[in-house]
């Protein structure tokens, strides 16, 4: 229950933090700690050095930037959930943040930590993928932007290099697109057995002219349900049609199996939640 010993640094500038990352061995970044600390307590992670980002002042913000909204990586779920700017211009993020874990986890967990952790059942990764967001990583060789579709590489693996820090997340302002995030939650902590994020636009005739569906909990990483998107795009979304399309949600995906659901049940549930999330978005 007690983590292995480590050295602790809490730099006050990004540069200092980057220096620590490249000059020490076996370093781990600490953000909110809601995933890292449990792993350390179980001694599944035994970093020799911890670099705490929480004292770097300019990593925590939500700002409008032209047609985009940018979030500092240390922005907490709670800040996202209660941000008036996001509620107005990118409601999918607050909708998603609101159903992560519990009050305490939302107060402490950060968007950066959640994305970097790349939990295959994480809620935020599904929303980020759906929004086609971009992540800014800063490393010893400067900064780079990583597109959401390239960011989630595999089970608990993101595209970040060990010496890179995720500093900012950039999402489009949605201007009227409709969104929803729904999940079938486990008992108690409420991790997603299946979670589906939807962002769509309907034209005057009620046809869907823009659609993105992000799915979490089903594969070894979050993914876009492209097969479903393709079927629905450009069509009027009546109930039967959505249901039919939703059956394709696990097409090409190696569906995982664990105590919360067999392959068969998870696949079925993914379909059900796809339907529910699309409908919820339409009504949003």
């Amino acid at each position: 229950m007690i983590p292995a010993s480590f050295e602790y640094y809490s730099p006050t500038t990004l540069k200092e933090a980057l220096d620590f990352l490249s000059s020490r061995e076996d370093v781990k970044i600490l953000a909110g700690g809601q995933s890292l600390v449990p792993l350390m307590k179980l001694r599944l992670a035994k970093p020799r050095t911890i670099v705490d980002l929480s004292r770097i002042p300019d990593l925590n913000y939500i700002r409008e930037q032209g047609s985009r909204i940018v979030l500092g990586s240390m922005t907490t779920y709670e800040q996202i959930e209660t941000s008036a700017l996001l509620q107005a211009k990118c409601p999918l993020l607050p909708q998603t943040a609101a159903v992560v874990g519990d009050v305490q986890v939302r107060n402490q967990g950060t968007i950066g930590g959640s994305l970097a952790h790349a939990d295959p059942a994480g809620d935020m990764p599904a929303a980020i993928l759906t929004l086609a967001a971009e992540m800014k990583a800063i490393g010893p060789n400067g900064e780079r932007w990583i597109r959401a579709e390239d960011f989630f590489v595999g089970l608990l693996t993101s595209a970040l290099e060990p010496d890179e820090i995720l500093t900012e997340v950039r999402v489009p302002a949605l201007n009227g697109a409709k969104t929803a995030y729904l999940k079938a939650a486990q008992r108690a902590a409420g991790f997603a057995v299946v979670g589906v994020a939807v962002c769509l636009r309907l034209d005057q005739n009620g046809s869907c002219n823009n659609l993105a569906i992000g799915v979490t909990g089903v594969g070894d990483k979050v993914y876009r349900a492209e097969a479903v998107e393709k079927i629905l795009l450009g069509k009027r979304l009546d109930a039967n049609f959505i249901e039919q399309a939703a059956r394709e949600v696990t097409r090409g995906v190696d569906v995982i199996e664990d105590i919360n659901g067999s392959k068969e049940y998870r696949s079925h549930l993914a379909g059900v939640y796809t339907v529910r999330a699309v409908k919820a978005a339409m009504q949003a």
């Binding site: 007690i2 008992r187 664990d258 105590i259 049940y265 059900v272």
Partner: protein
Amino acid sequence: MAETKYIGKTIPSKEGARHATGRGLYTDDFTLPGMLHAVILRSPHAHARILKVDPQAAREPPGVFTVVTPEEIEKKTHPFKPGRYAAGLKKAIPEYAGAIGKVRYVGEPVAALAARTRGAAEDALELISVEYEPLPAVVDTAEAMRPTAPLLFEELGSNLAWKGSLHYGDVAAAFNQADKVVREHLKIHRYSSTPLEPFACIASFDAASKKLTVWVNAQVPEVIYDALREALGLEDVRVIIPDIGGGFGQKIHLIRKYVVLISLLAIESGRPVKWTEDRSEHMMAAGHSCAQEFDVEAAVKNDGTVLGLKFKEIDDVGGSISTLTIHFTNKLNNLSNTYRTKNIFLEGCSVVTNKCPVIPNRGIGKPGMCFIWERMMDRIAQELDLSPIEVRSINLVQPEEMPYTTPSGNIYDSGDYPALLKRALEKIGYEKLKAEQRREREQGRLLGIGVVIGVEPGGRNAARDMAIFPEMKESPGSGGVNGATIKIEKNGTVTLFLGSPNCGQSHETTTAQVAADILGVDPEHISTSTPFDSDLAPWGVAAANSGNNFHLYDIGAVHGAASRLREKILTLAAHVLNAKSEELAINAGVVQATGSPLKKISFAELGKIAYGNQALMPKGFEAGLQATFYYTFPHGEPNLVPGPEGLVRAQFTFSAGAHVAVVEVDKETGKVHVLRYLIVGDNGAVINPQVVNGQIYGSAAHGISVALGEGFVYNSDGQLLTLTLTDYGKSSTMETPRIEVEHRPSPSPFTTLGQKAAGEGAAIPSPAAIASAVEDALRPLGVRVRELPLSPEAVWKLMQEAVR
């Protein structure tokens, strides 16, 4: 007691303020000078031979004081004596506090060490190297019983460690006379009550006097007391039990292993040693409720009368022989449930597997017995095309039959089961709900209503087990004993010493209410001595936070002690006031002669005399104002000890409750939503309604959570997959429904105040109620619910199979 001013009322909780301010004192809160911290090395294998344990590297770091290995455990401790749940073993199997030679479940303790800090101890633990020879794991009872299955205990020659049966009445005749035989195969899974505070223990050994003191959050001091004497050969043992963060049976049995290991570390290191279990250790090794399987047959008449019941039970008891029959023997406690059936046959098979050992858990086996009856009642109704209410009603024991003797010798003290059922249906609006259900079904909504009824036995009688093991060599004792001491101090305050520890059932409040009414003081002025201390407490075998003992033994003892003290007070006061003791009344700690306003004396004044002024005491008066009373149940006969027919009072009082669950099943996901949950209960005369309600809410919530998905899951290698409360599926505020409770008490004619039990209560019928409601919801699909848990996936699968 002229009037009851406090009994029967809700007063503010006496233990509440310390808990609400963070001043509760739990075992882990104590620190002793020089105290070391212990950690336990546990088996990563479900089944393996221990080839070699090398502790050398772990002994080297400067903070490490002591490491004990299997070799040392075998050399320095003795095995536990086989208790009453292992009495049926053909061959005695020594069980030590740690694994010797072999490990039989993931998490079985193998070695232990103590170091200056918990961190240092955990660091050193990684340095102990153990060589295992992994053996094939046996995780399924059917597999385990195959002749070719790997054996857990080679000495037994089989994994079927025990088999036995009992019958009452003429079962064959009942089945011959039946119009129909209804059969079913039922299953209940492994779960536990997962108290929020894990095991904790501090051991301190004084080598000079050879006295061992342990602070431990154990529910039953006797178990710890005996374990330390048996395993360490110590006579002088003191068991201190501070506040306990929840027990529910979890902290009765397996905790003794750890107390022995930690005491051994304390003896070896010469330092006090503290150990606190972590959550994952608790999940893998602190004990599970037994997975039970039942083959059931009911002999019925066309009108629904159940003439006879037969069932064969297979218990998956895990990797220990020490609690082999605990879930089976407890079936005797509510064998007849609320029904009149006279002819019952039961057979039990205890199968050892490579899983965590089983332990008593809220209700122990009784939820299984109630599940058998209540599932069968629904099934009989379906097969005879009767309403499930009708079938239950026709079989209920009637109020005019009370006290009613069941075929196995239990004596139901009081109760009006038909009235409980009737009131429950009325209150829930059964007919209206049924109509709504029909309407909603047409809209495709799956609503279900489950109605069940169950008894809740209270008060232990260890002699019960002799009915199952007539060959038992050593008597397990019979009935129960517990004491209480009550004292007026020199300054007039009242102090109460209870004979048992408290796991959160408000014992301090309830006993103070009883003592307050008898002594004529405000409960606020009664202070209860905590923690429980075996050196001081007047405790007996029933000093156990288990077996629904409190209402019988503790209340009986407090009542007895307070009544004795009252007499003493009145004798002294009468003498001092020159009055007759019959003329005296006590009010707010002042003894007053009726009709003479000036003739009065306060407890403080009496205290001064009783502890310091011989001249004012009556002749022959024993100085001091203290009384102790040890209670045994005065109506223990007949059937206190089983005779040749095996008739025995398994427990002594019988509460009961009718439960109604209203659920909706999400037809797409299989998720069950509990829309309403109602209990109409008879817990006898209630001493404090909010306390009793709290027990009912908590036990019902647990039973519902168990039915809907919480539980342990192992993979085929015997690895436990549910090491956290999340994976285990514990219910939070979000999954727990509101519970409605109404009391319909029938006071027990046998107990001091008419009180009955309330601690296990609603955990007994609630799994059955949920099963019944879910089956009712899925009626249009023809689904039969035979198994718990009804997790969303399980329910979805039932629907899928039905559609196919």
